[in-house]
Amino acid sequence: MVVVAVVVAVCVIFPVAAPFIVGGLLIAGAAVGIYSRFKMYEAYHDGNGPGFWEGLGLVGLGIADVTGIPSIVEGLVGARAFSNGHKLDPFDAGESVGSGLVNLIALIVGGARTLRGKPGGIDVKPLEGLPEGKPPEVLPDVKPPELKPPEGKLPEGNPAGSPPRAFGDLRVRLSAKAQEAVAQQRQLRSPENMQQMENIGRNPDGTYDVGKANQAWERKWMDDARFQRELAKGVADLTAKARGELERIKNTCDDNDGTNRPNATVGDGTTEAALVEEARTGRPVGGVGGHAEKAATAIRTLQEAVASLSHLKSAVASDPGVTADITAAIARASQRISALQGGLDVWNNRATLYPRIWYPNGQVRGPIGPVAPVPPHQPDHDHPDDGAPP
């Protein structure tokens, strides 16, 4: 992009230099194009290089890339040449058409300047201070091939030579391998994570460090086998994760709502009922204290599972069974959280609610604390059968 901008600008300002610059850059552009085509081919074929005829085709394409026409065609078709079945996503396809058009227009403008340069053009004197006979220097800011794919386009609002600020502008300055990595991650990651990943290589001032970003994205590139493996995990993995959270909610609720101890007699057999009883009497329910800690940890476990399911719900929306299970589980967990919190509120206010049992600092006035280990023969208030199984 920068190169194209500089070419146009120089051709406009110094028409005499146009033939040399345009000619030199056409050759350089063709070389870069060929190089990029071969690198892209390797990326699409697990690092394997092309055969003879394919190589010949890549050379032709690389040269033709100077015109931008292959990019336009590939964008319209929705796939790169020799891409081994990989499709371009709509963003990439549009970008390919756009960058191809920019290349084509730049070539036409530059070509026209070149043709008009001497015969019908204006007389041009040598530049002051420029030794006669010395050919114009090729632009010094031509990027190395690995950082400058041939599909570069003029970034909107990005002056030539300045670091890119928009991810789209950065992306066209990445190597083919890094660009492929971007496309892979776009398919694998949630929109939220992808949005964050687009900040990779961004400086504090909002511009991108192209080299740093390129290095980071190239590190993310996956060979086809690994990419396909990660892609295949997709929805099945998310569904399995959702089922894990459902199981967590079920077991946590069963553990606290009396399901596991159907014969319990304190209140309705729930953890919060035991907690209220401990606050009221100062005695551990069931012979073992710690219901306050259990209630607090269960609440946090349920909250974590609910948050996780809320995030996963949209990702598994294609499975109505799982979606219904998630809705029901979240409802059950929310009810449980509310009930447990009610018990904790009583416990936390025990000194105020039951001042005859508790000191103001929350210590029990009796000799046995509800959270302390208890002797083995403590009466089992929680179970009329003294803990016998149902």
Binding site: D254, P373, P375, G387, P389
Partner: protein
Amino acid sequence: MTDLWRDPDDITDDLASGDTERIRIGLAGLREFTKGGDEFELPVIDATLLLPFGASPPEAVVIDLARLMARYRSFVPQPSRADVIRQLVELAVRYAVPQVIYEASIEIQGEADPAAAARSAVDYLGGRGLASPREVEAGGKLVAHLLEAKPLVRRATAEGLAAWPLTDTRRAVVTAVLPLIDPDQRAQVTSEGSRRS
């Protein structure tokens, strides 16, 4: 998304760094990254990750690691569920974080065969031993949670406890949880004759 977000490659490096601050940041970043279900291939980690923190890592770090080990499905190589449960039990008793102890018991109850998983966990504790009062208390809490689970888990837990070597540790734990044990198993657990060599 928050400023806890970390790039996957940075997270991988953080967790391999051996540096406590980077491990803390890496675990928090991984929690943030996986919120929506995203995962990436990550070298397998276990309770030893927290060794650089010494005896008492921040509770949030222990909780992050425990939840990661319990839920993450893209470790390379993928550990077996038995390994995962064992690591959770290890984390629970080593650092005695109540949240981790409770969630270890919930993970055990969520296994395909929860009774076998409970027995395996209690056996692991018996073989491992509990080295300090803090570990004894943590081990006792875990056993207590399992004794409040469904009958099959409860009974398997008591059977496992009965197989512990007859030490002061066993006596302390049994004393703390005895009311939760089904009456017909109490004699088995308190019996001096159940010493294991």
